[in-house]
Symmetry: C2
Subunit: 102 residues, 2 copies
């Protein structure tokens, strides 16, 4: 199993409507791409002021690295990246295997 | 439910042995503090080069914001922060509620 953590920080120009559209597009992506085993997300509710400007956290779960590797260049994923990119101030991606150390 | 995502980036001086000690201390913390409902972690295996220098991702799950609020000032958590702090180049924390949008 592989967790794919994606954080978004928005350009100042990005409207709440555009953010909603992007949230929905990511949810739609999780439905369209069968490689995605599980998907959840939310907006920051931390109280420690250590989020570095990131407001959105998406947790995408794949069954394997191979599925992640097939997802990244997937046509639908690329279309999503094209949608999001103009509105991104910053993006952070970190992947980990949650099984090894439990 | 509340997810508490914690990313660590290490000072250059931090030895692999010290990193192992800190990993173990976080795992021990998850055993000691009953407020922690679920816990997993791993080291970065992403291929996109968007991890901003963070190498460790810990996913701490609480049943509620109240449990998170009780965890942060918990004596055992504070001792862990004191252990980790001298070796941290950077830390990122983002919390989200995974249930709202599923």
């Amino acid at each position: 199993m592989l967790r794919h953590v994606v954080l978004f920080a928005w350009e100042d120009k990005t409207t709440p409507e555009k953010i909603k559209e992007i949230e929905q597009a990511f949810m739609d992506l999780a439905q369209k791409i069968n490689l995605i085993h599980d998907f959840e997300w939310g907006t920051d509710v931390s109280t420690e002021n250590l989020a570095h400007g990131f407001t959105h956290c998406f947790l995408v779960t794949f069954k394997s690295r191979e599925d992640r590797d097939a997802y990244l260049p997937h046509r639908e994923h690329k279309a999503f990246v094209d949608l999001v990119k103009p509105y991104m101030k910053d993006v952070l991606v970190i992947d980990y295997n949650p099984g090894v150390h439990r």
